[in-house]
């Protein structure tokens, strides 16, 4: 997976690149709009991350050129302004998602993965199994080691999200947005409590533990490496 990052703020650019590379992506970095425009138009990328505010050619212009050239590469906007207008403008011009600065890197990573997955063939299994945890999606039932686990519908939705994105670290804000449609910074404590209650049902009585807290980042559901 090859990504293009267009960002003129040096520190942000370096850390975004480093973070994405450590997450296993190949990253090209353009530090100004002109280079970014050139790279975006000439190379083939799986995803473009664009800063809106660039000193020369701004992000709007780049995404416009891309769309006019018929390139459907997913574009994620980074914007310092959270204005609704910016958001609407970006989405109208053909951007696929946006993130308001300051953002958490885990949030960026999660969004990047979502966008990249969107392009690939839709994956709607009826059944997800992780270690001895089994999710029966059509019947919305979960079993662990053969035991039926009683979950509320939201708890099931939360578990399903974690399971579908097995191994990925999901930040609290993404969980709030995907499970409860809360698209703004709310009491992040709510997610911690919800995860704790889910854990009590899924993990407390069983081994190995599947739901893990990644400090400062979020939560992930994964089976320990079978060795």
């Amino acid at each position: 997976m090859k990504l293009l990052v267009v960002e003129d703020e040096n520190k942000t650019a370096d850390y975004v690149r480093q973070g994405l590379m450590e997450a296993g992506f190949m990253v090209d970095l353009a530090r100004n709009g002109l280079d970014g425009h050139h790279l975006a138009m000439s190379e083939a990328y799986d995803l473009v991350i664009l800063d809106v505010m660039l000193p020369d050619v701004d992000g709007w212009r780049i995404v416009q050129s891309l769309r006019e050239a018929g390139q459907q590469v997913p574009v994620l906007f980074l914007t310092a302004r959270g204005g609704v207008d910016d958001r609407v403008k970006g989405l109208e011009l053909g951007a696929d998602d946006y993130l308001v600065k300051p953002f958490a890197f885990s949030e960026l990573l999660a969004r990047v993965r979502t966008l990249l997955r969107r392009g690939s063939a839709p994956n709607h299994p009826d059944r997800i199994q992780i270690a001895d945890l089994v999710l029966d999606l059509p019947r919305r039932r979960a079993t662990r080691a053969g035991h039926r686990i009683n979950l509320t519908s939201k708890e099931f939705a939360l578990l399903e999200l974690l399971a579908r994105r097995q191994g990925e670290v999901l930040p609290r804000s993404l969980i709030a947005s995907q499970v409860w449609d809360m698209n703004f910074d709310s009491d992040s404590n709510v997610i911690d409590v919800a995860i704790r209650r889910l854990r009590a049902k899924i993990d407390d009585a069983f081994e190995p533990k599947l739901i893990h807290t990644v400090r400062g980042m979020g939560y992930t559901l994964d089976a320990p490496d079978a060795e």
Partner: protein, 473 residues
């Protein structure tokens, strides 16, 4: 800065309006007055002339009456010539009914007057004829004199006239004088009116000078409404009100800046100290990780605070930037209950929805954010085992969403300040991860952007927050 008011025409100045009106009124009054005087003078002269003409006519008629039929023409002429004495500038002419001249005195030729005029029996001041001849003006009348019936005298036509140049020139002179007087009075009236307006506007200029002297550092000054004329008192009161609002806004703004500085100083100090101590000696990777995690938490909190402040600034700068859709309040609250369910159960707090309300036009995300802040706040302050109640009600004008929770009474003096940014009832709560103290400020800004208002009430048993939204806005 470009002038926003170019293109609109300035109305005429007050001084000009008042002066013009006074000038017009003075002129009209004076003209009417002059007209009346001139008319009465003319009338007076006509009466006077009529009296004189009557006397002349009587003197002329006397010999005519005494003469009988077939009187000697020469004798009659002599009698007529001597009939009038003691009168200057009067002329007369006598003819018989056939138009033959019986007597023609000196002066203007009166025969066309006698022939053309409609003879009357008596001289009336209102029916005198005036004409000009040879550069002089005359006033006169034509009389019909019946002959002496006893002497079977013939009827005669008598024309009498007098020179009225003297009267006319007097009138002309008088009119000119009146004209000048009018002009002078007009000038005086205009001048006085102008001075009066200037003097009358002095309080306005004084008020203006005081307003001009107000600087942002002294917004606490107020103009004294008792020092200005009654007409300006209301203006001064409105201005004072405006100044009060600006002062409040200013104070809030400068407090806000001070608060931001204060709120940011603490975490930045913590981070700096912690990092410096950490770098003071070499540590294990685990310890470094701990420090980074701790820093991360602090950074995230600061990031959230910045995000909240940006949101506040945007909502307040551009309150009309709402994406209004039909929002079903009941559904919205239930959705929020879903979200808070785990947290509430964890704290052994139950959530209830009471009442119902139709859908309203609102920005869905914003409204959810506001209600979510209120719910989160209520759950946090509800004792274990108690319940948070959301009550919906609606009438023709407004929709009210109340969020109630039992709990400790909020002191009355804190109630109005609850919605201020960074305001915390209990300052010691500040750094216990309970948010930056912007939650209720955000509620307020969202509700006000929707044209509504927020209220808080608290007694020993219950604390209630009301969101009042207008039905149409």
């Amino acid at each position: 800065m470009p002038n926003r008011f170019t293109g609109t025409r300035r109305p005429a100045s007050l001084a000009l309006r008042v002066t013009a009106l006074v000038g017009m009124a003075t002129t009209l009054v004076f003209l009417a007055f002059s007209w009346i005087i001139v008319r009465s003078l003319e009338h007076h002269f006509a009466e006077q002339d009529a009296g004189e003409l009557r006397a002349v006519a009587d003197a002329v008629i006397k010999p005519l009456r005494e003469a009988g039929r077939g009187v000697d023409g020469a004798l009659l002429r002599r009698q007529l010539a001597g009939a009038v004495t003691g009168h200057h500038g009067v002329f007369y002419y006598v003819a018989d009914t056939a138009g033959n001249t019986v007597y023609a005195g000196q002066g203007p030729n009166l025969s066309p007057i006698a022939a053309g005029g409609q003879p009357t029996a008596r001289i009336d001041a209102r029916e005198l004829a005036t004409w000009q001849e040879g550069g002089k003006s005359y006033r006169g009348a034509v009389l019909r004199v019946d002959g002496n019936a006893g002497l079977s005298g013939d009827p005669y036509i008598v024309a009498v006239a007098m020179d009225i140049d003297l009267h006319l020139s007097f009138l002309e002179e008088f009119k000119r004088m009146l004209w000048w007087a009018t002009c002078i009075v007009l000038c005086i009236a205009l001048l006085v009116a102008w001075l009066a307006v200037q003097w009358g506007h002095r309080p306005i200029r004084k008020v203006n000078a005081r307003i001009r002297a107000i600087r942002s550092s002294q917004l606490d000054v107020r103009l004294n409404p008792r020092e200005v004329p009654i007409e300006l008192a209301e203006l001064v009161a409105s201005f004072n009100d405006m100044l009060g609002r600006i002062e409040d806004g200013f104070a809030q703004l400068s407090n806000f800046s001070a608060d931001i500085a204060h709120e940011l100083r603490t975490p930045v100090t913590n981070l700096t100290t912690q990092t410096q101590v950490a770098l003071g000696q070499s540590r294990s990777a685990g310890e470094y990780r701990e420090i980074l995690y701790s820093n991360l938490e602090e950074f995230e909190r600061m990031g959230r605070m910045i995000g909240d402040m940006l949101f506040l600034a945007q909502t307040e700068n551009d309150p009309h930037n709402l994406h209004r859709v039909e929002v079903e309040l009941g559904e919205t609250v239930k959705g929020l209950f879903d979200y808070f369910e785990a947290l509430a159960e964890d704290r052994n707090v139950s959530l209830h929805l009471q009442g119902r309300a139709g859908s309203i036009a609102a920005d869905r995300e914003m409204l959810r954010r506001a209600l979510s802040n209120l719910l989160s706040n209520a759950i946090r302050h509800t004792p274990h085992g108690a319940a948070v109640t959301v009550r919906l009600s609606q009438d023709e004008e407004r929709t009210v969403v109340s969020v109630e929770n039992p709990g400790k009474k909020i002191p009355d003096e804190d109630l109005p300040r609850l919605f201020d940014r960074f305001y915390r009832v209990d300052p010691s709560r500040q750094r216990k991860g309970e948010g930056a103290g912007l939650g209720l400020a955000i509620v307020k800004s969202i509700v006000e952007a929707h044209g509504g208002e927020v209220r808080a009430a608290s007694d020993d048993a219950l604390t209630r927050f009301d969101v009042v939204l207008p039905r149409t806005s």
